[in-house]
Amino acid sequence: MRLRLPEERPTEPPTGYKIAHPVLSQDGTRAGFTGVSLGGALPYGVLDEAACVYGRRHRAPHRRCDCGFHCVHERATAEALLCTAEHRAAVLLEVSVLGAYIRFERGFRYARQRVRTATVGPCACGAGAGALSDAGWGRPGWRALTAACAGCVRGRTSLSLASFARLAGEGLRVRAGGDADMAGGVQVASDAGAASGLGVSELVAEAALLQARLDWFQSQLARLDESGRQSG
């Protein structure tokens, strides 16, 4: 027999932490996230409603199911999940728990979610991320993105952190975090910010990305020029 759990009514939405992969819609007009485990098949927006991933006709979160959004109470717990090889490319999300929820010892399962901040880890080469670029996998209609520095973006589909925030909407903030930052150390990252009010560091990152794109473009032009001369 299950005991009835105590009911609570917080004055502020609880804050939680989780990891997810950033995604970009096929037509490049929308941005969101997809979970790393149970809800991986259902990409979600910055402000979104959970549905039962098993297709059962009940509202998420149901006590006897494990559906609904999931998050943990502690930032460090979510950061620890980023250590595993399969989750290295995921980003850390700070979320507001909304709607009906079940509070557990280590986190929440809940009905609605607002992603407030996404912290992007370093590029695979180790440099700080200046962009999110095509990770080479996805879901139907959605490309998964991964952190990339200006030098590694090359010709892949990519967008700056600020552009991702703008497409995702709802005031999402996207930060580039270094290793120290992801390990819970001092905040060394620049704030890519919400859609409005870009700072100097964000504009420098945008410029670096444009420069890298231009370098790649020029190298492609040079290659075409070279092959044209050889055949002509």
Binding site: L5, P6, E7, E8, R9, P10, E12, P13, P14, K18, S37, R63, H70, V72, L81, S96, V97, L98, G99, A100, Y101, I102, R103, F104, E105, R106, G107, F108, R109, Y110, R114
Partner: protein, 44 residues
């Protein structure tokens, strides 16, 4: 993600934050246009 034992249930709602411009008082008080005749029930 193992969350442990269920401890409580709840409902959380975002507080509606009033926009700054909604809080600004009008600079001048506008006179009501020709006052509408007081409504009285004409029939029951």
């Amino acid at each position: 993600m193992r969350l442990g034992k269920a401890l409580a249930t709840g409902v959380a709602e975002e507080q509606a934050h009033a926009q700054d411009d909604e809080l600004r008082l009008p600079e001048e008080i506008q006179e009501l246009e020709a006052s509408a005749p007081e409504e009285v029930p004409a029939a029951r």
